[in-house]
Amino acid sequence: MSTVARRTRLRRLERPALLGVLVREMINFSSYWRSTTFSATVEPTIYLLAFGFGFGSLVSTVGGYDYVEFVGTGTVATAVLFSSAFPAMFGTFIKYQFQRTYDAILAAPVDTEELATAEALWIASRAGVYGCVPLLVAIVFGLDVAAGMLLVPVFGFLAGFGWASFGIFVSATASSIENFNYIISAVLTPLFLVAGTFFPLDSLPEWAQVLAQFNPLFHLVQLVRHAAFGFEGASDLGHVAVIVAFGLLMWRLAIWRLQRRLVD
């Protein structure tokens, strides 16, 4: 009977479902890319200039690097965080709560797992690209170009996937958009400051240095610096492993919470 063949069960994480969600994001992006690109590039550039030249006039070198180069490589992580965690938090909330976009998508042959995965992949891709902006600005201000820099978009993508998933997880857990303030103040701000972006962590007390090992942003900062100034073999593989583990954990948490939020 022909109906039997038709009845093969559709699998999980199917490409057409991921593609459908990605196409929606891409077409939408074509209508707002200017403002997003503006903030994703201008913000880290301001950080870079303010810290680079403000502090740079007080401290000329940090850990053997020119301070502008130190901050220029460090703010890549800032750019990745800002262009992944925040859009994921606010975008997800708006899409399920106000625009009801996810109701429409889940009525099509797309499961929550595919929806969350595609959204995280999309934001991660953007974060990988936007993460390169501070590096380019730093190059303009004298940072030497290195072959390892070609891997920076990849690192930005991997970390961006974790932070995007984190944002989806937070968004699907929060009962109102105001609750994001707790996460931004208590989680993102400390992680962002204690990542070795603006000052090296070896001047911090030992306990803070130990805690920093659990900060995925710290590992991204290290990777980007090593991409610019020379890789350090096994320790860099360790940094990649932490970022990948963070991504996998957040990805599953995001799916779990979003499923609970969207399916009664």
Partner: protein, 296 residues
Amino acid sequence: MPGAHAIVLRGAVKRYGDIVAVDHLDLEVPEGTCVGLLGPNGAGKSTTMKLLTAQAIADEGEITVLGYTLPGDSKQARAESGVVPQLDNLDTTLTVEQNLIVFAYLYRLGRRERRAAVDRALEIASLGDRRTTRVDKLSGGMRRRLLIARALVHRPRLVLLDEPTVGLDPQVRQELWALIDLLRSEGTSILMSTHYIEEAERLADSVTIMSHGQAVATGPPRDLISEHAGDEAVEVYGSPAKLAEAEAAARAAGLATRRTGTSVAVLRLNGDAPEGERRATNLEDVFVLLTGEEIS
């Protein structure tokens, strides 16, 4: 036999904490027919719709959609169904055409089919000249038509319409009825929830009236009317005291009554009808008789 019914619910139960939104609901949509799901707000219509796309998972009972068992095989069922939601969830900063293209992808149409599918959907919705208009520039009626067209882009065998004309002008409503009627004439199975009685009466081959999560009556509108309200009604007008008197007298004589606000309608006439204006019974009489006069 699979295929004889587009939708079958058997004893479906959906609870939210202590609230039973759907309470042992039985419902069938024979293939190629339009079934209206009628009920007051809070009767469980929208929850029933969500069960059919597995956006809510039933606590008990069996649900099959297009022969697929839910929730396990819901993805296949969704691939062959179209859903028109109650709340407009179009992408408002995109154009009409872009909204349709997105759904051509979500419904997995091949590269070669997409263009034709979008053109066809534009034609169904009579939005051909609005192809490149942004959705936030469309009128309410056009947005609704686009919402319906979006659900039809992949030629679904089943369409779920959740309150398709809520909040629209009568002219726009009629336009959408014509569209739904066209779908039905093409053999698409339709389940439509509504609390506009006229909508169900005009479009549905069969109507299920829901109250408190249960189906309280099912059948073709005409049959339901003659079964529950009789063929003719008498409307008695007058002071509140007179209305109460007419109501008591009719009930004593074994007749059914319903208040219409300004009058008492006496139903199920059997010869000894009171004085008043005669009129044909309608589905609204049945609706109020079965779901109660009080708003819960």
